[in-house]
């Protein structure tokens, strides 16, 4: 019982790690990134490739996450520029279509170039026990990584001047620009940061089981569901929704099967948009 709960929380944290990127990019750039899962897969696969080259596992992971970040940076500076030039609905639509196309490009490329590469990371001790519960070391590690990342993210957003700048752009891009902030530079920073978090989520998947090239779309859809349920403009909401969804997913998969669970999650996402478009947990960021 508690094992399922813990499992759910850890899965949820991983989902949040991806979804928070979608929230940030949408909140800041007004672009719904449909290639976000692909960024995660890219991070994971490049880690696997670095490992194959004989790099130390820790360095491989760092390099993999950085690869995602660099890819995000390039995406922001080249592909998304036409979208940023427009405003309002036009920008949303363009961003959506561009990232949709990009997700196909990344999927197709990885499928053809590295069809059999998969990332599996093994930790020295498979599990340890606290009291009478056995905990997988991997789960503990994932939870730790996610919590630290979120703590850093919140510290950055709430504690630093740059974080304040980020939040001001999320609230009102024109207003921020009038105060002398350059939204484009901050946007690049945040897109790269989000891409790195997605990459981290991809690498972390390798700790759980294994990460293959085919997971991209699944990642994108789950991250999208989490971001939507949490509210696509609320970071707190996304974190809460991710953990909640992870727990629901774990329990429901255990008791009623994965198939119905997925349907319930999808229906919840659709229902949320219709009933509360701002998200179930939309508090002030």
């Amino acid at each position: 019982m508690i094992a399922i709960l813990l499992d759910g929380i850890v899965q949820g944290l991983q989902l949040s790690l991806m979804a928070v990127g979608i929230t940030l990019i949408f909140g800041l750039g007004g672009v719904l990134n449909l290639a976000h899962g692909q960024l995660a897969v890219l991070g994971g696969i490049s880690t696997a490739l670095f490992l194959g080259e004989g790099a130390h596992p820790v360095w491989a992971c760092v390099l993999g996450v950085l690869t995602s970040g660099v890819f995000g940076l390039i995406m922001d500076r080249t592909l998304l520029v036409p979208a940023y030039r427009c405003a309002g609905e036009e920008r949303l639509l363009l961003g959506l279509l561009i990232t949709l196309g990009l997700s196909f490009v990344v999927n197709g490329f990885l499928d053809v170039r590295y069809p059999s590469v998969a990332l599996t990371l093994r930790l020295p001790t498979p599990s340890f026990s606290v009291g009478d519960i056995t905990i997988r070391t991997a789960s503990a590690a994932v939870a730790l990584i996610a919590v630290v990342t979120f703590a850093l993210l919140f510290a950055f957003l709430k504690g630093t001047l740059l974080g304040k700048v980020v939040r001001s752009i999320m609230q009102n891009e024109v207003g921020a620009a009038l105060c002398g902030i350059n939204p484009a530079r901050i946007r690049t920073l945040i897109v790269a940061l989000s891409a790195m978090m997605a990459g981290l989520a991809g690498v972390v998947q390798g700790l759980f089981s294994s990460l293959g090239t085919e997971l991209g779309n699944e990642f994108t859809s789950f991250a999208l569901i989490v971001a939507v349920i949490g509210g696509v403009r609320s970071i707190n909401g996304t974190l809460a929704a991710g953990v909640l969804l992870g727990i629901v997913n774990a329990f429901a998969s255990y008791y009623i099967g994965a198939y119905l669970t997925l349907l319930i999650l999808l229906a919840t996402a659709a229902g949320t948009i219709l009933v509360r478009p701002q998200g179930l947990f939309a508090f002030r960021t």
Partner: protein, 317 residues
């Protein structure tokens, strides 16, 4: 609609009919190419439907495959289970698709959802559809799919007859499109596409017209979906997957030009030729689609028709 545009529309539909009717004669009796040409007609009809929904009223439906598929599955499953005639079940499928599409549109307009949220809701619906088809194994055979050979109307059995039957359907849908656009609704669509808020202020009932566009478009999608099912000889979730219908139709419409009569047809022709050209690349075609979408969206947003209009200086419809 001005008389000149009315005449241009009529000439264009006549020209499309003649040109496409001549296509089988140029293929030299090859069954393989005839099949590709017929599928091209089917995708053109999908694009006409999507053009009404997205090109004219800016409702980003990412569930084209799911709408077409729900109509197709309903029709095929009823034919198999209750041994009804396909002629009786196809209309049921069309009604189902129209109701679903209309409902999505009504709810999104009422809730004031922006284009992106309409996209997400419909995307979620197509995921639900996909999973339902996989899960309702007893009825749908899951991933394996259902053979539809010999179930459908005899005219869709294959060969040149099917080509001309489907061409007739495509021309019919273009005529419906033309009639819709020259009616009051067409003017309203124009206003909504230009500026929804201004249209509302000018006294246009935006809700009604958006729901109308979505319903007509979805009914058309349902009809094409059923034709696709019976002509294709086989249905499975993959046939109606996002990647096999929605993306192709999106690229087709973007290539041809949104909100134009000729767009879906021209886009369909160019896309089919391109698709055949990249076929030898095998699985790389997914990547090619992706690059196409990005390039089209970034540089060629107005499509072939707009380009030709500029180059040739004639009012192409």
């Amino acid at each position: 609609m001005t008389p000149i545009r009315l005449a241009a529309d009529r000439v264009a539909i006549a020209a499309i009919t003649v040109v496409l009717a001549l296509v089988p004669l140029t293929l030299g009796g090859s069954d393989h190419y005839l099949r590709i040409a017929t599928l091209m007609l089917i995708y053109m009809a999908y694009a006409v439907a999507f053009n009404i929904i997205f090109g004219h009223t800016r409702q980003l439906f990412l569930c084209l495959g799911a709408l077409a598929g729900s109509s197709a599955y309903l029709s095929v499953v009823l034919v198999i289970r209750l041994s009804l005639s396909p002629w009786a079940t196809i209309p049921l499928g069309i009604v189902l698709a129209a109701l679903l599409g209309g409902a999505f549109s009504y709810v999104s307009v009422r809730r004031g959802l922006g284009v992106i949220f309409v996209g997400i809701v419909t995307l979620v619906f197509s995921m639900i559809f996909h999973n339902l088809i996989l899960g309702l194994r007893d009825w749908t055979n899951g991933e394996t799919g259902i053979e539809t050979k010999g179930l459908g109307p005899a005219v869709l059995g294959g060969g040149p007859t099917s080509y001309y039957a489907i061409l007739a359907f495509l021309v019919l849908s273009l005529v419906v499109y033309h009639l819709l656009m020259r009616s009051r609704a067409g003017t309203a669509f124009q206003a909504i596409a230009d500026d929804e808020f201004a249209a509302e202020l000018a006294g246009i009932d935006v809700t009604t017209y958006k729901v109308l566009a979505a319903t007509v478009g979805s009914a058309l999608l349902g009809a094409v979906g059923a034709i696709h099912a019976y002509y294709g000889g086989f249905i499975s979730p993959t046939v109606y997957a996002l990647g096999s219908v929605d993306i192709v139709v999106l690229v087709t419409l973007l290539l041809g030009g949104m909100g134009t009569l000729l767009g879906p047809v021209l886009g369909g022709i160019v896309f089919t030729v391109l698709d055949e050209a990249v076929r030898p690349l095998g699985r790389l075609n997914v990547m090619v689609y992706g690059i196409l979408i990005v390039v089209l969206v970034v540089t060629f947003r107005h499509g072939l028709v707009a380009m030709l209009r500029k180059r040739l200086k004639i009012p192409l419809p």
